[in-house]
């Protein structure tokens, strides 16, 4: 049973991992994108729209296309969200907090609108869309995982998106700490005036980091629908995972590699109430609080410690304009 618990924790953690990796890359450029919950939501509905249209217009699903179309739609939708955010905050220098919160409201709204429309198009009795066929392709895992006992269950039973999340986090970590691009990106988030004077194109880095971050975060939404929810989209089903992803950024002290462990921990805390016997509803809600409590405690601890390398990028949330005096 504990192997199953860990497996479920990982599955619960993967959307958070996508979200936090995306947000870390974004924040390293100095953009505090509070639109991540909305972007993840849009990434999810984007995949749903793609899959729905493909399932409706073909009789026999091609396995490659069944995965590729939703993936592409999800990426495009998140990218558009990222571009809107960048245009507002980087080009027009709008307030990042306000823009981010607006993006979340907008993203959830647009997701629910299309979710509702698709339900109507499908003529379904229940307020949800069922994409089991597409989902089964997404959930394809290694065939021999079942035979390897707990090891296979924990480590090998996942779908390709889960492994992609972990690889993305590792690659992001490597790029941030071990490459010239990463150095330049971190400098943009710490001190854009310095980066600018060093000949780094601040706007380009902010745009690229934020858009790539949005795409990665959007994949978290896609994973949630196609893998975790078995291809069933229902409005507002995504819950508060977007905010949890942002909390995870702080918990991982802006390091994607720590985010991998953090996401599993958060995932575990998120579902632990299911594994505690004789829990009533209010008790369950208390347990669901745990990831947030952990984040707050962690914030308290890191703030007391005052370690310089556990702090957010110094210019996080601030606009940059070269000729500002």
């Amino acid at each position: 049973m504990w192997a199953e618990f860990i497996r479920r924790a990982i599955m619960q953690g993967i959307p958070l991992l996508f979200g936090s990796t995306g947000e870390i890359i974004t924040e390293k450029s100095g953009n505090l994108n509070l639109g991540i919950p909305g972007i993840m939501y849009v990434g999810g509905i984007g995949g749903v729209i793609g899959a729905f249209l493909y399932e409706q217009n073909t009789t026999e699903l091609n396995p490659f296309l069944a995965v590729f179309i939703p993936l592409l739609c999800s990426i495009l939708c998140s990218l558009i969200m990222g571009l809107i955010y960048c245009f507002l905050t980087v080009s027009l220098r709008a307030n990042q907090n306000v823009t981010g919160l607006a993006m979340t409201t907008f993203g959830v709204g647009i997701g629910n609108f299309f979710g509702g429309s698709l339900v109507k198009l499908a003529g379904s009795d229940v307020p949800s869309i069922n994409l089991t066929a597409t989902s089964s392709y997404f959930r394809t895992s290694l065939p021999f995982a079942e035979d390897l006992g707990w090891f296979g269950q924990i480590f090998l039973s996942h779908s390709f998106l889960a492994y992609l999340a972990i690889i993305t986090a590792i690659v992001a970590s490597f790029v941030l700490t071990k490459t010239r691009t990463g150095l330049n990106l971190r400098a943009v988030g710490e001190n854009p005036a310095t980066a600018d004077a060093a000949g780094i194109r601040v706007e380009k880095y902010k745009y690229l980091a934020t858009c790539i971050g949005s795409i990665i975060a959007g994949l978290g939404g896609l994973y949630y629908v196609m893998d975790y929810a078995n291809g069933v989209w229902s409005n507002d089903g995504f819950g508060d995972r977007g905010w949890l992803a942002i909390a995870l950024v702080i918990f991982a002290i802006w390091r994607p590699n720590l985010s991998i462990l953090g996401s599993i921990l958060f995932g575990g805390l998120y579902i632990v109430h299911n594994y505690i016997p004789n829990l009533d509803v209010s008790g369950q809600e208390l347990f669901k609080m745990l990831p947030y409590v952990v984040t707050i405690l962690f914030l308290v601890i890191t703030s007391i410690g005052k370690k310089r390398n556990a702090q957010p990028p110094a210019s996080l949330g601030l606009p940059y304009f070269r000729e500002d005096r």
Partner: protein, 519 residues
Amino acid sequence: MQASQNNEVYAIRLEGISKRFGNKIANDNVDLNVKHGQILAILGENGSGKTTLMNVIAGIYFPDHGKIFVDGKEVVMKSPKEAIKYGIGMIHQHFKLVDVFSAAENIMLGLEEKEKYSIKRCEKRVSEIANQYGFEIDPSRKIYEMSVSEKQTVEIIKVLYRNANILILDEPTAVLAPQETEKLFDVLRKMRDDGKAIIIITHKLHEVLSLSDQVAVLCKGKYIGTVNTAETNEAKLTEMMVGKKVTLNIDRPEPINRKPRLELSHVSCVNREGTKILNDVSFTAYSGEILGIAGIAGSGQRELLESIAGLQKPEGEILYIDPETGKTEDLRSKTPMQIREKGISLSFIPEDRLGMGLVGNMDIVDNVMLRSYRKGRPFLLDRNNPKKLAEKIIEDLEVVTPGVSTPIRSLSGGNVQKVLVGREIASAPTVLMSAYPVRGLDINSSYMIYHLLNKQKENGCAVIYVGEDLDVLLALADRILVICAGSVSGIFDARTTTKEEIGLKMIQNKHQRGSDANG
């Protein structure tokens, strides 16, 4: 074209550069030449457009008009990156360094090398450059652990690492102790002999005379002229700079009715990191005199003033002696509000003008009101009296501003300081503390501040003046207290002491300070 006619190629040649910000003309038709193997000093009052001009050369600002020639060829630089390509490197007044990066990481920033990214190789080259010019630096140390002069070293190496042949330094000595300045000048001379062209901005005339080959003077954005340093002197330069002759002598009236006003005994103070910033400081400040405080930046001057003003929690005793009743009051661990409620008029002009002194986004009236908002009707604010006071400050201190309702942030540094000083002396203080009140101010504004401090002194106020220019301290103060690593290393009569004596006391405990900082 002209370069070839003169048969010599200038490293940098500017022709008719103009740059404006909104309605404000920062540079108006400026010409400038500098050759390789030459140090050019740029001199000018505050707001004369020196920094703007340098930013134009460094590609940070794009000029509205004019041409830039590098090594005889006309260039168009749209970004700092292109300036770097032409071998132009700028060391900014406010360092452009990322605090959480190491020196080597900062130096590598933005580089586009063909070779593989390697911090190790960068660190090795940094050490090579450091050895060549006689710097001391640990390339793997983080910037936030470094002192100001170390940070400056990183900035200079960063520029050299990019093979810059033209170096621009914006007020590099403003933050350095005299000994550190000398060291920097030695390095700059070595670079000049290496064939590099160096442009240096400074306010300090003696530095201009001791270092540069030529001096270019700007005044109110206009180019006045260039002279050979060997053929000029302080008086001539000052005349070019301000347009009219300014007496270089600062008045120093004799103290009258000198009585103890503030007695500090055994004051110690610990900062947030737990390092001892003030160590057993004892002295007395008298009414009717200016007590100068000299010391290397960061020796505890700030904490000393803040302790008196009620912004720190020091140990020891800070006694205030009331001029009328003679009653004493311990100011220690009282808040500024409690001190004011005791009827003690304490004025504090902090070094961080826009951070601690004034609110940048508020206008002059609102800033003046910060001192008096508790007066007036119980619920609504009284804006009339502060407005009158603001108008009086603008008139008396010649503040250049479009009006009383202009946000402070959009005024130039000198005018911001005038507003702050004007507000503080308006409350008729009995103790006036000022930290670097003329930092970044031009000569005219500086003299106005000196004059205002002298006036307070004549009014029987105990004036404490923390300064960095020893010449000014020696000419303005009655006594000079030298602080070194948080301890008082000596108190001197400013009329009889020498610059050397004070300079020596400033670094007396320097070795000990270094080990404290590391521990």
